[in-house]
C-alpha cells in the first residue's frame, strides 16, 4: 500500500510534465529553511504556477492554507515556537514535501532538581543536583552550555563547580557540609539562576555521656547535651535508650531528646548499673548505689 502513493505521484508528475507543454499545469517545488530557531519567522519558497494548498505539520502545529505557486510562504514566529521536526507539504496536481528542523532558542529557564531536602552532615556523595536549561518556549536547549553550581551556608561558600551540559543536562554530586543548618544550592547559567534549600542536620550522636542520681521515686538519669562528632546538636526527637540492670533484672526506657538533652526516670531501690545508647552509638555506663 505504501508503494502506491509514490507510484501515483510519479504518474501524476509525468502527466503534469506532459500537460505542461500545453499549459495545463506546471510542476511545483518547495524549498524550506536550512536552519531555523524557535520563535523566529521563516519563509518557504515554491516554484511553479497556479493554485495549490500548503500544509505545515510540526510540534503543536497543523496548518492548512491556500497558496499561489511561485510565491513565498511566510511562517510567522507563532508557528515555529516549538523545537523539533516540521513537515511542509504543497499540493496542486501532485504533492511535494520537505522536512526541516527548528532548534531551541537561548536558555531562559533552568529546571533544577536537588536531593535530598534534608541530609545528615558529613555524608559523602549525599547531595546531588540536576540542571536542565530550557528556552522561553520551554524547548530543551541541547547546545552545550556551562552551568555553575554553588552551595552556601550563611555567607560561607561550601562548594562551587562548573559543569557543561551534555545532551541538555548538567549535574553534580557532593558531600554534605560539616555544620547543621540551611544550605542554599544555586544553579546559574548566564543571568538565569535557580535556588534550592537543603536542610543539613546533625549526624549520629558522638561521645554520649550520662549522669544520674537517686531520688525518692527511683533514679533520674539524663544525658549531657548530645552532639554529633562535628559538634552539631543532635535534633530534638532523636530517641535515646537508657537500660538499667538491677539484681539481674533489666529495664529499658526510651526518651526523646528535648533541647539537646534526653532525660528518664527509672524505678528501683537496689544498686543499679545504667547504660545509654542512641541508634548504634553506645555511651558511658553509670553505677548508682542502693537507696539508703
Amino acid at each position: 500500500m505504501y508503494r502506491l502513493l509514490p507510484t501515483g505521484v510519479a504518474i501524476c508528475a509525468a502527466m503534469c510534465l506532459a500537460f505542461s507543454a500545453v499549459g495545463v499545469c506546471t510542476a511545483q517545488d518547495i524549498r524550506v529553511p536550512q536552519t531555523s530557531t524557535a520563535g523566529e519567522e521563516a519563509t518557504i519558497s515554491t516554484t511553479g504556477t497556479g493554485k495549490a494548498t500548503f500544509y505545515l505539520v510540526g510540534p503543536a502545529v497543523s496548518r492548512k492554507s491556500d497558496l499561489i505557486l511561485g510565491e513565498e510562504i511566510h511562517l510567522p514566529a507563532q508557528d515555529l515556537r516549538n523545537a523539533g521536526g516540521y513537515l511542509a507539504v504543497v499540493c496542486s496536481d501532485t504533492c511535494r514535501s520537505a522536512a526541516f528542523y527548528v532548534s531551541a532558542a537561548k536558555p531562559a529557564i533552568l529546571t533544577f532538581l536537588v536531593h535530598p531536602s534534608r541530609v545528615p552532615v558529613s555524608r559523602p556523595d549525599a547531595v546531588s543536583g540536576v540542571a536542565i536549561p530550557f528556552d522561553k518556549f520551554h524547548n530543551l536547549v541541547l547546545a552545550p552550555e556551562t552551568v555553575n553550581f554553588q552551595s552556601t551556608a550563611g555567607t560561607s561558600s561550601l562548594f562551587s563547580r562548573q559543569a557543561r551540559t551534555q545532551d541538555g543536562i548538567a549535574w553534580f554530586r557532593t558531600a554534605s557540609g560539616k555544620s547543621a543548618g540551611t544550605v542554599q544550592v544555586v544553579a546559574s547559567l548566564d543571568d538565569i539562576a535557580a535556588k534550592r534549600a537543603v536542610q543539613q542536620v546533625a549526624s549520629d550522636p558522638c561521645n554520649l555521656r550520662i549522669k544520674g542520681q537517686r531520688t525518692a521515686n527511683g533514679i533520674v538519669v539524663e544525658t549531657e547535651p548530645v552532639h554529633d562528632c562535628a559538634g552539631n546538636v543532635v535534633p530534638d526527637g532523636t530517641i535515646v535508650t537508657f537500660t538499667a540492670t538491677e539484681d539481674n533484672n533489666r529495664s529499658t526506657v526510651d526518651a526523646p531528646i528535648k533541647k539537646g538533652i534526653a532525660r528518664a526516670q527509672i524505678e528501683g531501690t537496689g544498686p543499679a548499673s545504667i547504660s545509654v545508647a542512641s541508634g548504634v552509638v553506645m555511651g558511658n555506663e553509670l553505677r548508682i548505689g542502693a537507696k539508703p
Binding site: 505504501y2 509514490p6 503543536a60 523539533g84 507539504v89 546531588s128 520551554h138
Partner: protein
Amino acid sequence: MNAALKNRRGWCAAACAFSLTFSFILHAADTPVLVQLDAKKAGPRTVESLTGRGILRDYRLAWTSMAQALQFNTADPLEGPFAGEAKQQLLQTVTQQQHSGLTQRYLDQHHRLEAVFYAPEGDVMELHDTAEYQLQLADGGKVIHDEHVVMHFVVLMTPAADRWVIRHLQAVPQF
C-alpha cells in the same frame, strides 16, 4: 440462478470492501509498536532491569496512544502517558488538526531507545530514540504524504505514581 449469483457477488464485494476498510482501521489502531532499550551507557545511576522494563512498557504505550490521538484527533489517549510540555504540545496538535481536518498515522513503528542519563536520585531519565515508521498525512481522508521516515527524538521521562511519563519529546536532526 443468475440473479442469485449476482446477489451473492454483490454481497461478497460489499463484505470484501467492509473487511478491507475494517482491517485498515484496525491496522492503524493496533499496529504493533516495537521498542528496544539499551541502558548500558546510562549514568550516573544504573538502570535496574525492572526500571528498564517499566520504561519499555510505558514508552511503547505512549507512542501507541500518541498514534491514536493523532489519527483520530482525540485527546483521550494522551491522558496518562504524557505530562508537562509533551502533553501540552500534543493536545495543541490534536486541537489544530481538528480545525485543519488533517490526520497523521504512524505505522510500523520501531523505536531504538538508548538511555543516556539517569539522575542520581532516579527522578529523571533522558533517552535518545531512533524511530523508524511509516508516516502518513491525510487531509479529510485523502493521503497527501506517505513516507518511511527515520527520526531522532530526545526524550525526558520522569517517574509518576505508577508509571514513567514522557515530559519532553523533541525531534532533532541527529544526536
